[in-house]
Amino acid sequence: MSDDVVFPLLGVFLFGVGFAAFVGRRHLLWKIIAVNVMASGVSVLLLTLPRRAGEGVDPVPQAMVLTGIVVMVAATALALALAVRLAGLSPGDGRHRHTRE
């Protein structure tokens, strides 16, 4: 098997297992990690799917992956912030900001 099958397979695997974990794990942080793994899988596929054996790598997917990574960092940061914030709040906390019954 040639490398233009191996890496895509890796991508598929990463995406699959990431998705599975995203669905399966209740813990927020794991969900967050899981989407990152999914993202890695997509990146691998983005880079390796279009590419034929022997050719150099296509710059366009590279750029896309770069962008993707940055976006994922931002998203991860926000997700973590939310998770931690959530951990800090007890049910009904802050409700009084909102309405008063």
Binding site: V35, V42, A75, P91, R95, H98, T99, R100
Partner: protein, 490 residues
């Protein structure tokens, strides 16, 4: 040096201006509000001018970096796009005005209601929306989606109570997953077609199976963001938990953006797929959404939740377009778009009105707003008018949309969709009545805590009236829509 008013300038400007505004709003907390107002006016002006240009001279295309597709990215503003831009602008101005007052602390225990974060977030959302409406490039759409999602999530969490934060978290994670599904689709498309431009994909002679896979992944991913039943669970708490102006923009526009992308994919990139039963599947899901959403809306106890569930239902209407589009292209297309536009206006109006009620009455529980009709006539009028729009009552854009959709369903012999539409509008009337009724009851001896200033009443009313204008003065927009109906030759 090119003319400032040439569409070739206006088109990128409609995205760049709110982006710049956002940057400024981030930089200086003090100038944020002023910046937002100015940006809003500018953006609106640009949108209108662009609209005029398109009406006059036809669709406009702008090639970023002058590379042109497929090398670079193109922006494209056709009739639909400018209508979306203009309606967004209208809602945008109203929301901006509204927000200048909404976040003002009125209770002793309220200190910082996060307005200075609201401004940049809101402007970023606006930029993202405009960008999506004019986008023609798959990956560009992905970035736009993310640019839309992050601020939207922050919006939800802005009021900071636990329910809101939990909803925001759920919303974020689900839509990241959705985005990744979308991105996977993009990867497949790119490798299969060697291009990212929607129009080009169509001609690329891409392998059918790969195309199907890609479309599946992308549609599913977007279905999450568009809160299509059964993937709607995140929407009601999120939209009900956000501060009113946030809810307005989320329910009115953000959800629609995802749908627009789906529609673009199916009509521009993969028109062949409309032949497949997949279109009917989406239709069925839409139908379920209409019924399920409406029924649940009927069961809610809080005004904002009622409205949020109604969004679930109204999104369902939009997805009815897929089974109808081939049989009756004209009415189906115009009808759906028209429904989208008028619903955007109405839904924004509803949330703004609900927010005003909430601030004034201190609660938006149905039992607590008895007599709101007498206490807040303007707000209530706005709510009523917008509500009737949801129910598709004339004269309102909703009615026109309903009429066209019914025409599509019945002229294509698919009467069952007509039945769904009819029942849906009945249920809509029912849950609107749920709120209206409360207003006519004799008021409780519960004094207003706060007489809302004009900033809280006028925008809602304005939007509601706009949705009526859309119903009376429907010919020009419809002609515009009809002119830009997609050609679906596979």
């Amino acid at each position: 040096m090119s003319d400032i008013l040439s569409p070739d300038v206006l088109l990128p400007a409609v995205v760049l201006v709110p982006l710049l505004g956002a940057a400024v709003a981030v930089a200086s907390a003090r100038a944020a509000a002023a910046t937002a107002v100015i940006t809003a006016l500018l953006t609106a002006a640009i949108a209108v001018l662009l609209g005029r240009a398109v009406v006059a001279g036809g669709a406009v295309t702008h090639a970023a970096g002058a590379w042109g597709a497929p090398l670079g990215i193109e922006m494209h503003a056709d009739g639909v796009a400018v209508l979306l831009l203009v309606v967004t602008a209208a809602i945008g101005i109203c929301i901006t005005v509204y927000a200048t007052s909404y976040f003002r602390p009125i209770f002793e225990d309220e200190e910082d209601r996060g307005v200075r974060f609201f401004w940049p977030l809101w402007l970023l959302i606006w930029a993202a929306l405009n960008a999506i409406f004019v986008a023609t490039d798959l990956f560009n759409l992905y970035v736009c989606l993310e640019l839309l999602t992050l601020p939207a999530v922050a919006m939800v969490a802005l009021d900071g109570d636990r329910e809101a934060v939990a909803a925001a978290t759920r919303y974020l994670l689900l839509s990241i997953a959705g985005s990744l599904l979308f991105l996977l689709g993009v990867a497949i498309v790119y490798s299969g077609s060697g291009t990212l431009a929607l129009a080009a994909i169509r001609e690329s002679g891409m392998d059918a199976r790969a195309a199907a896979t890609a479309l599946t992944l992308m549609t599913t991913g977007l279905a999450v963001k568009a809160a299509l039943v059964p993937l709607h669970v995140w929407l009601p708490p999120a939209h009900a938990g956000a501060p009113a102006p946030g809810s307005a923009v989320l329910s009115g526009l953000v959800v629609k953006a995802a749908f627009i992308i789906v529609l673009r994919l199916w009509t521009e990139a993969f028109p062949g797929s409309l032949l497949a039963p997949g279109a009917d599947l989406l239709g069925v899901l839409g139908a379920i959404a209409v019924l399920w959403g409406s029924l649940l809306a009927l069961r809610q106890q809080r005004v904002k939740l009622v409205i949020a569930y109604s969004t679930v239902a109204q999104v369902g209407y939009l997805f009815l377009v897929f089974p109808l589009l081939l049989e009756a292209p004209g009415p189906a297309w115009s009808g759906t778009m028209y429904h989208l536009l008028s619903h955007a206006l109405a839904k924004a109006a509803l949330f703004l009105a609900a927010g005003a009620m909430l601030r004034a009455m201190g609660s938006d529980r149905l039992d607590d707003i008895a007599g709101v009709g007498q206490k807040l006539p303007m707000t209530f009028a706005a709510f009523g008018i917008a509500g009737l729009n949801l129910a598709g009552m004339p004269p309102s854009g909703g009615f026109i949309g309903k009429w066209l959709l019914l025409t599509a369903a019945l002229s294509s012999g698919q009467w069952w969709w007509a039945v769904v539409i009819a029942i849906g509008s009945l249920l809509a009337a029912a849950y609107v009545l749920l709120v209206l009724r409360a207003a006519f009851l004799q008021p409780r001896a519960r004094p207003l805590r706060h007489q809302p200033p004009w900033q809280l009443t006028a925008p809602a009313l304005a939007l509601a009236l706009l949705s009526v204008v859309l119903g009376v003065w429907a010919e020009p927009p419809l002609l515009l829509l009809g002119a830009t109906a997609p050609d679906l030759a596979p």
